[in-house]
Structure formats: structure tokens, C-alpha cells
Amino acid sequence: MAELMDIIASFLASSLRQAAPLSLAALGVAYAEKAGILNIGEEGIMLSGAFFGFIAAYFSGSLFVGIISGALGGILISMIHAFMCIKVKANQTIVGLALNFFTLGLTSFLFLLVFGQNTKLPSVASLNPITLPVLSKIPVLGPVFFSQNILIYILYLAIIVFFVVFYKTEWGVRLTAVGENPRAADSAGLGVNATRYVSCIINGVFGGLGGAYITLAQLGYFQEDIVSGKGYIALVVVILGRHNPVFILLSAMLIGFAESLQFSLQTMGIPLPSQAFSMLPYLIAVIVLLLSAGKSSSPAFLGIPYERDKR
């Protein structure tokens, strides 16, 4: 019995660790999407966060500086995206894809420039778990949820704050108005574009943190394409979680569970190529999306730039 509990606890803990970068990124995406900004470039934002977070931590020796730089790295990409989508009114999908490839090239190039070709990857010590008093004493769940690194506590806090903002404040109402009917929002005197720029900054911060989580909390090193599709999975998590912060965490946990399950399966010596197991999280994403089809929670004006003087 106790053994089973241990297995469950260890699976939960590992699911949460896999889910954390997805949830952080997805929260930012959900905010931007509520305002009507479609960000396919999330992969690029995360990669930028992962790179700048790592490099700042490496040279400063401070993980705190690393986390801040990760968020700034995310903002860098999200603001290019925002400028192209809001000011230039470019096609948001194309801009997002272009930024993903741009960031992939940029981070790999900068990494080579700084460290050169090396057989040994440069690394930093990763974030230590902080055990919260009292809460961590809850049986089974306590150690899983309250003996984690600082980014996971930031995630908890963010979920609560986002939930309150979305559903309990006038800001949430305004955000909904800007995404659902920008002309109505404009008529009511809300700054549609200002709201959207702010949403992109928030998107950048959380995407950057999600990326930094990978290099600073999970791995402690950086390499080319280290995000490897998590940005796209974050977009799926937003849809699964129907833009609701709590559901986003749960959806990310589901994907995270699939991720940790596939790691365990790979080590169990089942005679299948490892790629077959790597498919698992994506397979689950596709299946859940199929099951939840037809119930879109996306705003009506998602991905459509707003022009006031248009006839």
C-alpha cells in the first residue's frame, strides 16, 4: 500500500515538473489569446527565455539573474511579434512561425559564438527545491506540491492571480471585450491596441519563464532546439484548458503525466524504439483535442488585427 502511494507520489511529482514549463507558457498564451493575439511564436519565446536565462545564470553565477533574464528574453521575442501583429497588421500565424525559426537560428548561433564547439556542454547548477513548512507535511500531496523550486511557486501564484484577474475583476471583462469585439471595446473607450501590447508583454514574461524553467530547473544546460516543441504543446494546453488558469494546470499535468510515463516506459526495456514512446504526449494531446472538438473557447477576434478607420 505504502509502496503504491510512493509510486503515485513520484509520478505526480514528475508530472508536475514536466507540466510546469507548459503551464507557465500556456498562462501567458491564454492571456494574449483572450486579448485576440494568436501567438504561434510561443516556441520561439520559450527558446529565447531558455537561452537568455541560461547564459545570464552562467555568467553571473546567479539563478535569480537567470530567471529575470529568461523573462526578458521572452519579452524580446513577444514584442517583435506584437509589433508585427498590432502595428504592421501582418498575418499572425506567419509572423509566429517566422519567429520560431528566427529564434532557433539566433540562439544556436549566439551559443556557438559564446562557447564555441565543445565536447563538454557548459552547465549551471539547477534550482534547488524549497520545502514549505506546514504545507509540505500534508501526506502524499505535501512533498509533491510543496517541496519544489521557486518557479513552481511562481506558477501557483500566477494561477491564482490570473484566475482572479480573468473572472473576478473588471480587467478580465475588458480583456474579454477586446478579444471578442474590439470595435465594441473601442466604442467603450478602451485602448484596444494598448491592451493587446500589455497582453503580449505578459505572454513574453511567462513564455520566457517557461523556457528558463527548462534550462535552469530541469537540465542546467543549453543546447540547440532545447525547447523541442514544448511551445506548440503549450498552445494545445491553452485550448484543452479552455483559457481557464486552473484547467490549464490540469491539462498540462495530463500532458506532463504522458511525458513522465514515456520516460519510465523507455527505461523498462520494452523492445520498441524510443521514438515510439516519445510520441505518447503528442498522441494524448491529439486524442484529447479530438474528444473536446467543437467546443472552442477562443475569442471571436483571435488573430485579427483591429483597424478603426476601416470601411
Partner: protein, 502 residues
């Protein structure tokens, strides 16, 4: 003596080199209902959008309460107590009435709003002006009439001194219009100024004190209602006398279209409910009703654009509801859609290419290839027969005016082998001249023995050319009447509102 509250002088505004407003002026007093009358495209809405800050005038001045006014955005307008209800409502569907009404306001405790106290203030205003609004109800659960009340409440909540209403009655049933006008009168008594944009002359005579008539972007008349009558107003508005259509009473031949108990469900809601109609050869059946009561579904079910959920459709005795769209059109159905940009034309293709989109194409094809010269001559024939104003048959239809686009659709859809014409809002967005042309054409098709299904939200249009009129509500036919001199319009109005009338 009433005070002048608003003056607009020498307003100019061009779009793509075309003058939408040309030296326009407007003067509005406190406590008056001022009608801004004109045809579609006369520049009424443009002028009001300038006043409301959605457009910037190229030149001209606005004087509000005695002071020059510079408005850069709707926010400025609202700050100065000017409010506007657009023809297409600017409400956020997923939000509640209350959230929509207070959207953009910083209320006490912002950003943590005290919904309950806002709701009670809303209820208080709504009882004062007799505008029933349920604060907690979401917009997407509301009827169009309710949504309009929310829009007006938005302005009253902000305590505006001037309300601009763009075509407010277009979406209302006759009885809703009565209630609405009663609200306007109460607002007038309260000292508010109201500008009502409309092209309906009887409404102007009924509710307005003053009227300014626009034609082709210019002011042609600005007078008290006491100095005018309907005839004079229509002369000002159109610039000439209106010839009335002559429709001779006649009974048609055999039943051509028989719609037998057709039902359709969309998103779990019945949009067509056991609907039965018959149209004889040589007759026009008008479908009257408020927009969005199943008209679109009815038209598209006959065409086959939507699959029907139950019942059957016969054309000349042959069951057609299992056939493809093309097969049905080849049996002689012509379709004039209500949304010509979406369903009728490919805007970036030229007139000839759009002409080619008809189902009966044999005349344009030669061994399977397009016979360019035949297509060109057919298009040019249509251009002269329907007097379509265009530089050539080779320019994109996007460059034509709405009326000329509509004429092209009609030229394409109503050809010699057509036996049934489905005309869905055929004059929407057209000026009076072009509307007359379309209606007389439908009449002449009827006289040639065609059956015509005329679906329109414009009662005047329905009763000017239909032989029989059916009233639709919530996907059901509420009643069918013969259109002769003793039609009881009150009864029609009640049926449009969904009341069972014997």
C-alpha cells in the same frame, strides 16, 4: 426658447477619392428628435461616425454646447456626453448586459467591481425610462430588441446629452417599434437631444421634430417636420418623384414549388419548424418577418446549401431535396442571396468571370473550353439590358457600386430557363432607383410565368409586389394572407412578433 446643443459646419470627408460628405451642416437643439434622412450611401452614417470620433473629417468644424469640439476617438465623444448606437451593435456577446453597460468605466473599487450595486443602478435607470433590461443576462441569449435596449442603456448609464441612433427600427417588429418610440419620447421630455438616422419616411413624420435630408453626401433640406409632408420628403431624398409600381391582381397556374413540412435543427435549436409553403407558377410569395427567424435557412434549404432535417421539397412535382445544388439550379432555380459579397460574387474577379459562375453554362463553353467571345458578348448584353454602370466587362466587380453588383447577379441568375426565383433581400443596400428596378424585374418574371419566392424584412417591399404573403417567426409560418386591399397590418405585425392569430 430651446438652446442649440450641436452644430456641424462645412464637414467634408472622402473615401478613396469619393466624397461621402460634401460641405455638410447639421444643427440640433436640446430636447429634440432630429431625423437624419437619406438613402443608403447618402453619407448619414459617415457624418455621425465623424461626430462620434470613429472617422476624422477632412475639414469642417463641430460646435458642441457653444464650444469647438475636437474628437479623436469614441472615448472623447463619450467624455463629452455624446453617445451612439450603431446599426450593427457593438456588444460583447460573451459578457452580461451589466458588464456591457459598464464596460470602460472605472467604477468604485476598480478593478474589483461591485456588480450588485451597478446592477441596482442599472435597474433604476431602466425603470425610469421604461427600458426593461435584465442585467445578469448574457448578450448571446438575448433577442435583437433586448440587445438594442442594452445599447441604449449603455448611453443612459453614462448620462449622455445626445444620443445618435443608426437605423434603430430596422431590426424591430412593429410593436417593438411602438415601445421604442415611447422610450424616445420620454428621453426627449427629459431634455436629451436625439439624432435618428433612417431612410424610412413614415417614421420621420411620426417621431421627429426636425429633419435634415442628405443626398449624395450633400444636405438638400433641413426643416421642421411641420413644414413638410411625406411626398416632399421623398422628393428631397430621391431627387425626383417616385413612380409607384403597378401590380395587377392575378392568380397563378399550377403549384411549382411545394415545401412540405421542412424542419432543420442547428446547434440544438429548431431554426425551421415543420414549415409548409406552396408557390404557383406566375405568382410571387412574400415571406415577411424579422431578420433571423429562419429566412436564411429556408432559402438555403431550397437551394441545397443546407441539408434539411426533415420534410420534403418538390419542384414541379419532382422531389428535389436529395439533389445537389447544381442539379437543383439546372432544374431552373435562380438565387439572389442576401449577402452578395459572401454568396453572390467573387469580388476580385471581373464581370465576365462572375457571369460564368451561373449553373447554365452551355452557351459559354466550346468543347469544354471557355468561349471567351461568347462570354464577353453575353456579359455586354447583360450590361446594356440591365444598364449596369461599368467601364468595361473586364474590371473586378469590387469596383462596382452595390446596386450594379446586384444587377449583375440578377442578370446571371435570371436567365431564360429559370422557373423559380428565390430573391432573398434583393434590394438590401440598394438606393431607391435600383430597388425599383429590381422589383419591377421580379414582377415581369412573374408575368412571364415564373414563381418567385421573395424573402424580405422590408414590409413595404413585400406588400408592393407579392401576391401572397406568409409571415415567418422562429422558423414557423404563422399565417398566409392574400395580398389585396383589405390586408390587416396589425395582424401581420402580431404574427411577426410570434403571436398566434386566428
Amino acid at each position: 426658447m430651446q438652446k442649440v446643443i450641436l452644430e456641424m459646419n462645412h464637414i467634408d470627408k472622402s473615401f478613396f477619392g469619393k466624397k461621402a460628405n460634401d460641405d455638410v451642416y447639421l444643427r440640433v437643439m436640446e430636447g429634440e428628435i432630429h431625423a437624419l434622412l437619406g438613402e443608403n450611401g447618402a453619407g448619414k452614417t459617415t457624418l455621425m461616425n465623424i461626430l462620434y470620433g470613429l472617422y476624422q473629417a477632412d475639414s469642417g468644424e463641430i460646435i458642441w454646447k457653444g464650444e469647438p469640439l475636437a474628437i479623436k476617438s469614441p472615448k472623447d465623444a463619450i467624455d463629452r456626453k455624446i453617445g451612439m448606437v450603431h446599426q450593427h451593435f457593438t456588444l460583447v456577446n460573451k459578457l452580461s448586459a451589466s458588464e456591457n453597460i459598464t464596460l470602460g468605466l472605472k467604477t468604485k473599487g476598480y478593478p474589483f467591481t461591485d456588480r450588485a450595486s451597478l446592477d441596482s443602478k442599472i435597474s433604476e435607470i431602466s425603470t425610469r425610462y421604461g427600458l426593461p433590461v435584465d442585467p445578469g443576462k448574457r448578450i448571446l441569449e438575448m433577442s435583437v430588441g433586448e440587445q438594442q435596449r442594452v445599447e441604449i442603456m449603455k448611453l443612459l448609464y453614462r448620462d449622455v446629452d445626445l444620443l445618435i441612433l443608426d437605423e434603430p427600427t430596422a431590426v424591430l417588429t412593429p410593436s417593438e417599434t411602438d415601445d421604442f418610440f415611447a422610450v424616445l419620447e420620454r428621453l426627449r421630455e427629459d431634455g436629451k437631444a436625439i439624432i435618428i438616422i433612417t431612410h424610412r419616411i413614415p417614421e420621420v413624420m411620426r417621431i421627429a421634430n426636425e429633419v435634415t435630408v442628405l443626398r449624395d453626401g450633400k444636405v438638400v433640406c433641413s426643416k421642421s417636420i411641420g413644414d413638410l409632408d411625406e411626398e416632399k420628403l421623398s422628393q428631397y431624398m430621391i431627387g425626383r418623384d417616385l413612380s409607384t409600381l403597378k401590380r395587377e391582381e392575378r392568380t397563378g397556374g399550377n403549384v411549382l414549388l411545394n415545401i412540405d413540412g421542412v424542419s432543420l435543427e442547428e446547434k440544438g435549436k429548431k431554426v425551421l419548424d415543420n414549415l409548409c409553403i406552396k408557390i404557383n407558377e406566375g405568382e410571387i410569395l412574400g415571406i415577411a418577418g424579422v431578420d433571423g427567424n429562419g429566412q436564411k435557412q429556408l432559402a438555403e434549404v431550397i437551394l441545397g446549401i443546407r441539408k434539411l432535417g426533415g420534410g420534403s421539397i418538390y419542384l414541379d412535382g419532382n422531389r428535389i431535396d436529395q439533389l445537389s445544388i447544381e442539379e437543383r439550379k439546372n432544374m431552373g432555380i435562380g438565387y439572389i442571396s442576401d449577402d452578395r459579397h459572401r454568396d453572390g460574387l467573387v469580388m476580385d474577379m471581373n464581370l465576365e468571370e462572375n457571369m460564368l459562375l451561373r449553373s447554365e453554362r452551355s452557351g459559354f463553353l466550346h468543347h469544354g473550353f471557355i468561349d471567351k467571345s461568347a462570354l464577353k458578348s453575353a456579359t455586354e448584353h447583360a450590361i446594356s439590358e440591365f444598364s449596369i454602370k461599368t467601364h468595361s466587362s473586364g474590371i473586378p466587380v469590387r469596383l462596382l457600386s452595390g446596386g450594379n453588383q446586384q444587377k449583375l447577379i440578377i442578370a446571371r441568375e435570371i436567365h431564360d430557363s429559370v422557373r423559380l426565383v428565390i430573391a432573398f433581400q434583393p434590394t438590401r443596400g440598394l438606393d431607391i432607383g435600383a430597388s425599383e428596378f429590381v422589383r419591377s424585374l421580379l414582377l415581369s418574371e412573374r408575368d412571364k410565368g415564373c414563381a418567385v419566392l421573395l424573402i424580405s424584412a422590408d414590409l413595404e417591399e413585400i406588400f408592393s409586389i407579392s401576391d401572397e404573403v406568409a409571415v415567418i417567426h422562429s422558423g414557423r409560418i404563422m399565417g398566409i394572407v392574400r395580398n389585396n386591399s383589405d390586408v390587416d397590418m396589425t395582424r401581420i405585425g402580431l404574427m411577426m412578433a410570434g403571436k398566434e392569430v386566428m
